[in-house]
Amino acid sequence: MRRIVIARRRLLQGIGGLVVGFSLAPGMAAAAGKTVASDQVDAFLAIGRDGAVTLYSGKVDLGTGLRVAVRQMAAEELGIGIEQITLIEGDTALTPDQGPTGGSTGVAVGGVQIRQAAATARQALIRLAQERLHLPASELVVADGAVRPAAGGAGIGFGDLVGGRDFTLTLDKAAPLVDPSAYRLVGRSLPRPDLPAKLSGQHTYVHDFKLAGMLHGRAIRPPAVGAELLAVDDASIAAIPGARTVRRGNFLGVVADSEWAAIRAARALKATWTAPANLPGSDQLYAAVRGTAVAREDVLASRGDADRRLAGAANLLRASYEWPPQSHASLGPSCAIADVRADGATIWTASQATHKFRPVFARFLGLHPDTVRMIYLDGAGCYGMNGHEDAAADAALMSQSLGRPVRVQWMREDEHGWDPKGPPQVLDVRAALDDAGAIAAWETVAWLPLNTPGLPAAPLLAPAAAGLDQPNGQSAGLTQLNTDPPYAIADMCAQIKWLRETPLRPSNLRAPGKIGNTFAVECFTDELAAAAHADPLAFRLQMLQEPRGIAVLRRVAERMGWQPRPSPGPIDASAATLVGRGIAYVHYKNAENFVALGMEVAVSRATGAVRVTRAVCAHDCGLMINPDAVRNQVEGNILQTISRTLFEEVTFDHARVTSTDWVSYPILTFPDVPTLEIELIDRPHDRPMGVGEAAAAPVAAAIGNAVFDAIGVRLRRAPLTPARVKAALAARAA
């Protein structure tokens, strides 16, 4: 059991008195000595004297609906309503370390663990009631917050059975779960509890959180990546009352008593930096990727002998696909508040990985990890590691230097310019058809960055600039998965060239790697179908053996009214708008969701602009805890990835990122939004799988295939911008 070193007085200070707009949650006052050991029921769940249940989740709600889903899962096992549950998320002093809220694991891993804790608690409550009711377990039921005789009569409430005391029980992996046939709450589209406050300005986002005596800070990022700070002209901000600089090595910040003064100071401050020019520039990006030293080569998947089969193949096709660096582009720039003292630190952050980052912060602050507490508060949506942790590190370093709590709010150019990016990907694919028009052999070679130079994970900006040691944070994610086609191909090889570096600091951006990989694999599958003069759907179905995969593809085809024919469709040479349809399929990570996606597009011949007019998705994630929350995530995956596919590409010169606002980094807007038709397949007897990523994976491929169907030209570089489409149309005409 982990001992919480933070003194109770300090803990309460952090939660209660100093805080504006942050209510003291039930169960919190007693939590100072609470276990966070993730094999203990008490780490996840506490029952108060009044019978109210508090859940402690290491995974957090990033706007996904986890906050209602986890309540549903636990309430189901405990025989209570979700309104009886208080949920504490991502506070390192109170919640168990369930790993980062990433990789679509919030419900699939975090929720499942909490469900098992609740099931274990349910068994314990029954045992306690047995002794007092003198009935065997088989004659007791758990309902409405009490254990009572199945035959009727008075029961004993949870508060009476265990209220205010620990369970002191190890999580029982064998504790029986409520049978799906008896579900009261799981599988229902219950409304998310946080929306009424979010929609009326009453919800406390990290941006809204304040501490007494808090200073407002801004980090001053250099004009070039890797620049060294030569001189700071403090006189340049002397006219701004209260404004002063904080310098730690090459880390530079300004603080002031008011936020506006801090902004003015950040703008006015004159500093001299070196001018390194180490970036390749985005116009040379893909040549730079191919020219990067390879650290290691891996074979992700291999069957037969693709190399030999392809070497002698008559019907050989080859192509290269390119996926650009992209930003999380969170709508609210990152923000954090840090209170760092000599004996410990408290940091309020929207990080998806407070537990993971606690030792990171402890190291660069020179503190023992047990004295560092990171508390999750909602931020603007992040889709992986955006700037949340960097803003927190900025605040922490400034707070440590000044001995005062500091709030750092990034500006728009900080977020677009300096959030760690989804890295660029290059995939070379080649394949051969057999005489029957099926795929005989396939090879993928993917060029993916191993990680940031010098660190096997994305380093935080502030300690790196300050020259402070920091251990690994998050990695760029499982970018190598789904590089292998999901079809029965006798000779197949998917190989990864792990690159030693990538131009911009990489991170895990929603469905890391899998969107670009599926873009290559599923577009190239379409290229092969076209070469075989086959209908793209039939071509896939003849090679697909996974029944759940076949089911989603058939559902999409039925909903779309798919007419079997090869692509491209008939192209009207006189039409101003060319229309097409495309389909793509993914078995996410080869282990999770089955998703099929059909897209219809309209392409303007005059401008080259692609508009997705209709998206039809069939989605199988096993058991659905909250179908509307699932649907919301599927919709978001599709719309955000349409945006990434059509509009988004981080640009940079030799010094720094140049796409630093919403004009230079445009995203999808309301006029671009297609009709969405989503079919959710419920499999209540299967394990629940995450829904935060999977439906993103096939989007780019479905669009690429639909554009090919419309204009008869294959676009292999994302985003599919008007200029690129127009060039493709011109090349076709020529």
Partner: protein, 155 residues
């Protein structure tokens, strides 16, 4: 240097001591008046997260200097309704669960409120066009459209 500025916010007169009248209204609302409905998104007038109503017109509070607001009536998200007594738009957003992270929701609701005030029964296309300058990063657009149309029907 400090001067007093009186603002009309959500039907109440509020007097602030202001060091710089060029400070955008957003910072006064969020930091001086504790109104967290309007959000800082870009400070450039590009995303809409900071939208408030000024005399009924949807206005980017990150751009308008405090000294230029004058006596005009400011309405923030808090001024529309509360969790207990939501405005029709807030109720419609809840009914449609038209939110993911919710950071853009302020701008969506305030822009839609301005639209519905002058056009009580907009077409879907009119809502799309009206909200074209309000960005949502999570992809809640389809639900937001439905919510605005639902609110219009319930007027």
């Amino acid at each position: 240097m400090v001067e007093s500025i009186t603002l009309e916010v959500n039907g109440t007169s509020q007097t602030l001591d202001v060091a710089d009248p060029d400070m955008p209204l957003l910072y006064a609302l969020r930091n001086d008046l504790g109104l967290h409905g309007p959000k800082f998104g870009c400070g450039l007038g590009q995303c809409g997260a900071c939208t408030v109503l000024i005399d009924g017109a949807a206005t980017r509070s990150c751009l308008i200097p405090l000294g230029k607001v004058g006596q005009r009536a400011i309405t923030t998200l808090e001024g529309l309704g509360t969790p207990e007594q939501p405005h029709k738009l807030q109720a419609a957003f809840i009914a449609e669960q038209a939110t993911q992270c919710g950071y853009c929701a302020n701008g969506m609701i305030m822009a839609a409120a301005a639209l519905l005030a002058r056009n009580w029964h907009p077409s879907e296309q009119q809502v799309r066009d009206e909200l074209a300058g309000n960005l949502c990063r999570c992809g809640a657009h389809a639900r937001i459209l439905r919510a605005v149309l639902r609110a219009a029907e319930n007027r």
